[in-house]
Symmetry: C2
Subunit: 301 residues, 2 copies
């Protein structure tokens, strides 16, 4: 998995900082998560191929998370895109996008498929043979979902030395990978685990922004490899968290710790702070594996 | 008058080029004309004080002319603006902006006053004691207006030597500036033009984008000091003008010549061209006073 941060600052686009948007590369998918104003320029700067984006996930309808979406849709049209585009986001998103297409008399020549979300419970919203995406209901001022991206358990790997020693016909390799015991060329039943190795542990990534401190999501993200959790405020402004339904660095770290996450990435910093390193310092008082998101930064895991 | 080009390229925002937006400073007003995606960042880069913008003019509802508006309105709110904001643009603009405010539950704490335009004839849409703004109906794929900004005729200037020679009481200076004849201290009627000078010639600026070649607007912009006219295409692609309802550099220059404009500024270049200097070269075959807009460029006149 590879996570490319396009923007990770809160509230408004500024000269050197961008509102929320990120691209998760997982099993050949490029999932775009949130799409603040300027995302299409950030995609260009980060050399991400527009045509590879087929699924866009929007957490909520505050502008810093979606004002760049209509422009991106429009640019896809101008680039004569033909591939379907799936958009997952709160109810209302379809209305606002289609209204703007109607007013400009600019309909897409590709299929635009909206998956509008309304449930307050976690839902499976995307699935193929290798990946699943679930919503993570979050607590914010408006209806908001985080997203959990999970690889499915892969196939077992062949231990080629053992396979050859056991003299197993190549026709059975597929069954071995799927976990079955097979007969070898001498008619002997070979136990699967004698000639295969377990598949790599499936990886998972949880995006949680924007949200107040809320332990209700912990069961959903338990044991996640990487957790991106918003941390809008430092401790000195932690009093603003409750009113604005945002989190502090320490609150994000507390969720990471309680969820037993492998790693915590912080982001959605208030632009009032000049030095984001303090977010890491504060979070590390609670949880050790903390990284700071920043615009243009790439995480591979 | 001072014109600050924030963006002057067509279609989509790119790494180094911005869609249409410009700020006209005229008699202490800062008028924002069009507001493509990224305009608020361009305003910051060009060090334009957000609070001085009180009137925004939107030519039409293609995204490259207004997708940055909702974000700018939202940023004004976050900056705790209190001053009214007037927005002039095609019918539909109010609906799309208010829908997005409703969905984000983020209403402005300042007054947002929409002046929706529907007329196909030129209208006076703004007026104070020094400036008038008229629409210029344009021919494009959707309902579009250009805008004509005109200084009103100012007051006459006192010729102080003549005034003192004629021994005119200071109480009459106001009347003199307004063009009246007055009595001097000896009871003699002094003709106004004997002691005053004509006011400076009022200046005017016409913004015409996007538009096909259309001579119907010439009477409206006759004698304008500065004409900004879109020139999306060079001659080699002039065949695209009719279909897309855009203009070539030569067509823009032809309008400037027929309108007897003082100066022509070209812009709205298609991003297919690497070298915009060719727009000037081609336009100059028809009209001599041609300038090229470019992002960040300032024209004073």
């Amino acid at each position: 998995m590879k996570l490319n941060i396009l923007g990770c600052y809160s509230a408004t686009p500024r000269t050197f900082t961008n509102p929320t948007s990120q691209v998760l590369e997982i099993n050949n998918h490029l999932f775009l998560i949130d799409c603040g104003e300027g995302t299409q320029v950030q995609l260009r700067k980060n050399k991400i191929k527009f045509s590879r984006i087929k699924h866009i996930f929007i957490s909520h309808l505050h502008g810093d998370h979606y004002f760049g979406l209509v422009g991106l849709i429009s640019t896809f049209r101008l680039l004569t895109r033909e591939v379907d585009l799936h958009i997952y986001g709160p109810k209302g998103l379809k209305e606002v996008i289609t209204l703007q297409m109607k007013l400009s008399d600019s309909w897409t020549n590709y299929q635009l498929i909206f998956h509008e979300l309304t449930s307050k419970d976690s839902e499976l919203i995307f699935e193929d043979d290798k990946v699943e995406v679930y919503t993570i209901p979050l607590q914010h001022r408006v209806y908001t979902n985080g997203f959990l991206f999970k690889e499915k358990e892969g196939e077992r790997k062949l231990d080629m030395n053992a396979v050859r020693n056991e003299d197993i016909n190549q026709a059975y390799y597929r069954k071995l990978k799927q976990g079955f015991d097979v007969e070898n060329n001498k008619g002997k039943l070979v136990k699967n685990d004698a000639v295969t190795l377990p598949p790599p542990k499936p990886k998972s990534y949880a995006f949680c922004s924007d949200t107040a401190y809320d332990e209700a999501k912990i069961p959903l993200i338990k044991g996640v490899d990487v957790l991106y959790h918003e941390s809008t405020f430092l401790e000195k402004n932690a009093n603003l968290c409750e009113k604005t339904k945002h989190s502090s660095a320490i609150q994000a770290a507390t969720i990471a710790k309680k969820a037993n996450a492998g790693k915590l990435i912080l982001g959605h910093y208030s632009t009032r702070y000049d030095d984001i390193s303090l977010f890491k310092t504060e979070a590390e008082t609670v949880f050790s594996h903390v990284e700071l998101a920043d615009d243009g930064k790439i995480f591979e895991f």
